[in-house]
């Protein structure tokens, strides 16, 4: 049964330094509040897995939380580069970052294999690309047809963190809209933390593609309204596209990045204060 906890306690108790952490959310429902809390608590040496590192991992990489990044697309969606990610890969700042990169299909297959209790997934992909020499894939042939395919190793994070719209009081989690690989990432993980917009008596499907994670598949649920900002939570908030655009300028140089992180994350005790600071700035 999932325990309903504060975000601070959940991150403090369940995310050890050096862990392999997956924080998923495909543009929608990105668990930013949890990422900020890991930064506040000074987590380090993490292996960060995420299909799209997005601004959340740009911030964690820039603040030195990550030893390694496992990913498949490292851009600022609709805007351009992730400058902290690039600075780490191109210049080893703030320290060298080991990378393991896949295609989206490969990462999705790795999570699905992990959620299925299989050591590998099979797909039609990577063929003819230079990724083959630079990532973890293997040739596998069909025992019935002899056809050559590609195998990817399953991905089983130590901790998966996601953001969802709802949890009920028993800790069952409900989400809808674009749900990406979150279900697989949670089911593949040893430990899971879910931040939610609201805790309700009964889960209710308020949009397409209603996905439910039973309480007994989740370790901790932390109520964090607005916990996905600047990403969004369908039915609760809209994507702060202006922020994603501003992030390009904020993150482009090391000093302005450090200043922003100090003011908005290190300088705020929790996510509510962060949201208040963001709102002030908009005025």
């Amino acid at each position: 049964m999932a325990e309903i906890a504060s975000l601070g306690d959940a991150i403090g108790d369940l995310v050890p330094d050096g862990a392999t952490v997956a924080m998923e959310g495909f543009t929608h429902l990105i668990p930013f509040a949890a990422g900020h809390e890991m930064i506040r608590q000074g987590k380090k040496d993490l292996t960060l897995a995420r299909m799209t590192p997005d601004v959340i991992y740009d911030q964690m990489i820039g603040m030195g939380c990550a030893r390694k990044l496992v990913f498949s697309w490292g851009g600022n969606p609709g805007v351009g580069s992730l400058h902290r990610f690039r600075d780490a890969v191109e210049n080893g700042y703030p320290h060298p970052l080991e990378i393991e990169e896949h295609s989206h299909a490969g990462m999705a297959s790795r999570y699905a294999a992990g959620a299925s209790g299989l050591p590998f997934g099979v797909l039609r992909g990577y063929a003819g690309t230079d990724l083959v020499e630079h990532t973890r894939v293997a040739a596998i042939s069909c025992p019935f047809t002899g056809e050559d395919l590609v195998a990817v190793p399953s991905l089983n994070p130590d901790v998966t963190v996601i953001h969802a719209q709802q949890a009920d009081r028993r800790g069952n989690v409900g989400m809808w809209g674009i749900t990406g690989v979150q279900r697989e990432a949670v089911l593949a993980a040893t430990t899971s933390i879910v931040t939610v917009e609201e805790v309700v008596d009964e889960l209710s499907a308020n949009g397409p593609n209603h996905v439910v994670l039973p309480s007994w598949t989740v370790t901790a649920v932390a109520p964090v309204p607005g916990g996905s900002h600047p990403s969004y939570s369908m039915g609760f908030s809209t994507r702060d596209n202006a922020f994603y655009t501003r992030w390009d300028g904020i993150s482009r140089d090391r000093e302005s990045f450090a200043r922003w992180m100090t003011e908005f994350v290190m300088g705020t005790p929790d996510h509510a204060s962060y949201l208040a600071r963001i709102a002030e700035e908009h005025d």
Partner: protein, 260 residues
């Protein structure tokens, strides 16, 4: 941002590029679409001559009909207006890999003469000069879509003789072909200057059409290798007033929706 600079008459070269791509889509085709020009072209087709084109985004939204262009692949409107929304493992396994996609759109930082695409690094992989975002859905779109339409502005820096990294397979570094891939690969490369198609035998990209007012010589200069040119070069048809009206309306709606 190159629009103003490359403006030709009363439409921009990017508009010409988008319109040209949109015209390549037939009604009812199933298209796997990324953000940016491909999304613009596919939605223009849907809002003009191909109302039943099926748009699939890698975020798991199938048959989506956004009123404005998404800024991100996961914008809420893609889910709200979709026939169905599925998880990301499923979109790649049951939908793309299974061969249900007729046309996949791709762009990249670099393309070579055999239609191979690079969106990973400029320079050596271990010590890159520029670290690009990476593969995303591209390698499997290139491998499994029925055909691939590449949209890319044509410059010597993007059309290169030696590609730094093959992120998505065209016809291979030697042009020999597509071992391990089931789709036909890049059948069309649409740029802001014209249209290229792979030679049926050698698979080398060949200029087959230029946009109105574009000189073949200019296209050669914008290409990092000795460009093959078809014996007969077509000149693309300028965007019609209707096409421009629908496109600009869409872009304006989008600008307003995403501002602030």
């Amino acid at each position: 941002m190159t629009d103003a600079a490359t403006s030709v008459g009363e439409y921009t070269s990017d508009e010409m590029m988008t319109v040209t791509a949109a015209r390549c889509l037939r009604d009812g085709q199933v298209c796997f679409v990324g953000i940016g020009l491909p999304s613009e072209a596919a939605n223009l087709a849907r809002l003009s001559h191909a109302p039943n084109v099926v748009l699939v985004y890698e975020s798991g939204t199938i048959g989506t009909r956004p009123d404005v262009l998404p800024l991100s692949i996961g914008d809420g409107e893609l889910a709200e207006t979709a026939d169905l929304v599925v998880g990301v493992p499923e979109i790649f396994a049951y939908w793309l890999q299974a061969g249900r996609i007729d046309v996949g759109f791709l762009s990249a930082a670099q393309i070579d003469r055999y239609g191979n695409l690079n969106s990973t690094v400029i320079g050596p992989y271990e010590q890159p000069d520029v670290r690009l975002p990476g593969a995303g859905g591209a390698p499997e779109i290139a491998a499994n879509a029925g055909q691939v339409i590449v949209m890319l502005r044509q410059t010597p820096r993007s059309f290169v003789a030696e590609i730094d990294f093959i992120t998505s397979l065209g016809f291979g570094r030697d042009g020999r072909g597509r071992i391990g891939a089931r789709g036909a690969g890049p059948t069309l490369v649409i740029t802001d200057m014209g249209v290229l198609k792979p030679d049926p035998v050698s698979h080398e990209l060949t200029l087959v059409a230029v946009h109105p007012g574009v000189e073949v010589e200019a296209v050669r200069r914008a290409t990092g290798w000795e460009l093959l040119v078809a014996d007969v070069i077509e000149v693309g048809e300028a965007p019609t007033p209707d096409e421009l009206a629908v496109l600009r309306d869409l872009v304006e709606r989008t600008r307003q929706a995403h501002s602030g």
